[in-house]
């Protein structure tokens, strides 16, 4: 047993050494020629009012003006962000909801939370009513995040340290991705839908191959729970946000951390993040009620969105990159541009 532990430490050291040899350039050198972005000022264009309690999650639809948000008042609301109208207001069985997702086709939405289940709702029901289509129950811990792959498959991450791929038609688990040592807090799907990444409270992020149900790569380096995770728009890099108030950029092919986005004056943990369409800007929501905008290539802060009266719990950039939506515990959603 002791031998195994020693071997493990040895291997870990070897990995660090190998990674160092592949680190032949820093971002500063690579991005030296890139023009500076300058101060980015985004203003609140719309405020979506209607929730009565903390908003825990939001997700944009793929057609760029609809989004869904989940709040602890027990409602899932689909908004038309341009007119600020509520397209659907779905009452939930359990109001302890922690996540929500919009299917790429726009036909389904999902949500889940402390009830340990992922409930799928069909928005395009025959008689216009929105009903529960499926309840996916098998997790032994709360549901922290869910994302659709299509109208028949969905991936969920849970407080029981696992992620599961479900078949929605039959309501069964197709695959279980186990390996994290702490609560899995968030997940992100790659643009080609072949991989997904999960961030957990064991301070690591893992890249999983959906087809083979294997963990392909593990990324460490954070000093506290990873609360938010996302793919860089080209699908070759991963961005993570953590309670230690930093965001890190990991490259999949180089298998290591490329950059850390941090500032001594930022002390509050990151709750959510979203890259802009070109990947140049990273928007990160924090516990200190602000959203910080980073220039991803230069690792400098280029803007702050201050407008919420409480913690920013979720953030998303629309699929055409035109607007960013932030949801907060003050029960409002704001659209920035």
């Amino acid at each position: 047993m002791e031998e195994l532990r020693k071997e493990m430490e040895n291997l870990k050291d070897q990995i660090t050494a190998v990674r160092k040899t592949f680190q032949d350039s820093t971002l500063q050198e690579a991005a030296a020629g890139v023009t500076v972005v300058g101060r980015v000022q985004l203003k609140t264009r719309k405020t979506l009012r209607g929730h009565l309690a903390k908003i825990y999650a939001m997700h944009w639809g793929t057609d760029s003006t609809l989004c869904v948000s989940a709040s602890q008042d027990g409602k899932l609301i689909v908004w038309d962000t341009i007119t600020t109208n509520k397209v659907n207001a779905i009452p939930l069985k359990s109001s302890w909801v922690m996540t929500c997702a919009y299917a790429p086709s726009g036909n389904l939405v999902a949500c889940g939370g402390l009830d340990n289940m992922c409930s799928i709702y069909n928005l395009k029901g025959k008689d216009g009513n929105v009903k529960v289509m499926r309840e996916l129950a098998a997790h032994t811990g709360y549901l922290s995040c869910c994302r659709f792959l299509s109208d028949t498959e969905i991936i969920t991450s849970s407080g029981d340290c696992t992620c599961v791929l479900w078949d929605i038609e039959t309501g069964t688990q197709k695959m279980v991705f186990a390996g994290h040592q702490g609560d899995a807090m968030s997940l992100g799907v790659s643009p080609d839908f072949k991989f997904f990444i999960s961030g957990a409270c064991d301070f690591t992020a893992k890249l999983w191959d959906i087809r083979e149900a294997e963990c392909r790569q593990t990324f460490g380096g954070h000093e506290s729970d990873i609360n938010a995770i996302g793919f860089f728009p080209n699908g070759n890099a991963v961005i993570t946000g953590s309670d230690d108030a930093t965001c890190k950029l990991y490259d999949l092919r180089a298998d290591q951390e490329l950059l850390t986005y941090q500032d001594p004056s930022i002390m509050c943990g990151v709750t959510s993040l979203a890259p802009s369409k070109s990947g140049r800007l990273l928007l990160a929501g924090h516990d200190d009620f602000n959203v910080n905008i980073w220039d991803m290539l230069k690792a400098e802060r280029v803007g702050v969105l201050a407008g919420h009266d409480n913690r920013v719990s979720c953030i998303g950039v629309s699929s055409d990159g035109m607007a960013c939506c932030t949801g907060s515990w003050d029960s409002f959603l704001k659209i920035w541009n």
């Binding site: 341009i82 029981d160 186990a178 092919r253 490329l258």
Partner: protein
């Protein structure tokens, strides 16, 4: 692999989001020597060690070298966590940049990850307040009190005894501040309201079993042997991607004719809908970035299909040699595919499909970009004039906002198109075709 069974104690205990506490404490300790306190008269009493909001904000701005707004936000955070408490208006946990009065909270009441505010402590506090206020508690406090009285009834004598004892000694305002942070009244935003708790204890040192060690070592060995790319290559790729898309990022570059969020005019979205006859120049440019981008855009896919039809007029998408539709794939892939057909599974055509896709990416795609089909659409593509709305026109735009096409109608259009496409390309039974050919031979 089975899902790891949860610990027997299902109740979630471990508070997340407390990593910043150590850093905040360090700042507060420094601040205590940095900001000058004085005696202030408030109502009838004189209170020592009072600090003024303005001074605090000035100190923060100086120390952290940030703007005033950020210092105000940071100051509010310190109040929301309970390190500093306001003397006037004690329910609003914000730091105001004026002559509002504050005091440092005693370290005993500082927030920590390990010590959670206990229910019995809160009951004792409410009992004390009850005595002090002679039964006139605030409504939210009364609600908590009644609930605790019912729930902790078995301990109530102890609680009342503690309350009467402590009432003589404990300093009232600091304790009150502590409870406002930990059990905030309605409409007070406190940072200790940390939300749902974690299932697995982040501080526990659970013994890792033998089997897990073995698997972890295997994983690390694989990790070492995995082929890696030099970081300069990755960075170069990221840089290239960002630069290529720079003009297509609405946060960084203006969009033509105008950004609907700014001018309330939908033209941009109407011009870029899925089924336009003529796409915009920016859209056509995006198609040239990568095959993935071209295929993700339905309009781009249509254009590519037209090109493919012209190029391979006659050639299509099926593998059987001599079949009416036959494409060129290498021998090995063909062998694998045919073998797979004996025991068909989901991915039997995978090898062939990947080969085709790679061919397309490396060869066909570039030929498409040089083809007359693409050049023609590039020429035809629209480049709308930027809008130039006067303030009055902007007002009108906002008022004339139409709700746009209802999503249900768009969905119906989509379904109709899908049905048409499905009917046009009914799949050929490959195995039947091949056996037919074999029989012919």
């Amino acid at each position: 692999m089975t899902i790891r069974t949860a610990r027997p104690d299902r109740v979630q205990h471990f508070r997340p989001r407390m990593h910043c506490l150590k850093k905040l404490e360090a700042v507060v300790v420094e601040m205590q020597s940095g900001v000058k306190g004085s005696e202030q008269k408030l109502n009838v009493t004189t209170i020592p060690h009072v600090i003024i909001g303005k001074d605090i904000i000035a100190w923060i701005t100086n120390k952290m070298k940030t703007t005033t707004e950020e210092s105000e936000a940071f100051g509010t955070m310190l109040v929301a966590y309970g390190y500093i408490y306001p003397l006037q208006n004690h329910r609003k946990l914000v730091m105001c940049n004026d002559s509002s009065l504050y005091r440092f909270q005693t370290p005993y009441f500082w927030p920590t990850q390990k010590w959670v505010a206990e229910h019995s402590d809160y009951a004792i506090y409410l009992a004390k307040r009850n005595i002090r206020k002679k039964g006139m508690l605030e409504p939210y406090e009364q609600a908590h009190y009644n609930h605790l009285h019912e729930w902790l009834n078995h301990k109530w004598d102890f609680i009342v005894m503690q309350a009467t004892e402590q009432y003589k000694y404990v300093n009232h305002p600091t304790e009150r501040a502590y409870w406002i942070v930990n059990k905030p009244p309605r409409r007070t935003h406190s940072a200790m309201d940390s939300g749902l708790e974690l299932l697995i204890d982040p501080n526990s040192d659970e013994k890792i079993p033998f089997d897990v060690y073995r698997r972890m070592n295997l994983f690390y060995q694989q990790a070492i042997m995995r082929s890696k790319v030099k970081s300069s290559v990755s960075l170069g790729a990221l840089n290239k991607y960002v630069t290529t898309y720079k003009n297509h990022d609405p946060f960084l570059a203006p969009c033509l004719p105008s950004n609907p969020w700014l001018t309330d005019n939908d033209t941009y979205w109407t011009l870029n809908m899925r089924q336009v006859e003529v796409p915009t120049k920016m859209r056509v440019e995006r198609w040239s970035f990568s095959l993935f981008e071209l295929l993700s855009d339905l309009r781009g896919r249509d254009d590519f299909k037209i090109f493919l039809k012209k190029e391979f007029s006659g050639m299509g998408t099926f593998l059987a040699p001599g079949a009416p539709r036959w494409i060129n794939i290498d021998g090995r892939t063909m062998g694998l595919t045919v073998k797979g057909l004996d025991h068909p599974h989901r991915y039997v055509l995978e090898a062939a499909q990947t080969h085709v896709f790679l061919l397309m990416k490396k060869d066909t795609f570039f030929r498409y970009l040089k083809s007359p089909v693409y050049k023609e659409i590039e020429k035809k593509a629209l480049n709308p004039e930027p809008h130039n709305f006067s303030p009055a026109q902007l007002e009108q735009n906002a008022q004339n906002r139409s709700p746009g096409i209802h999503p249900l109608i768009l969905w119906q259009q989509d379904e109709a198109e899908k049905a048409k496409a499905a009917a046009a390309s009914a799949p050929v039974d490959v195995k039947a075709l091949m056996s037919k050919l074999d029989r012919k031979k």
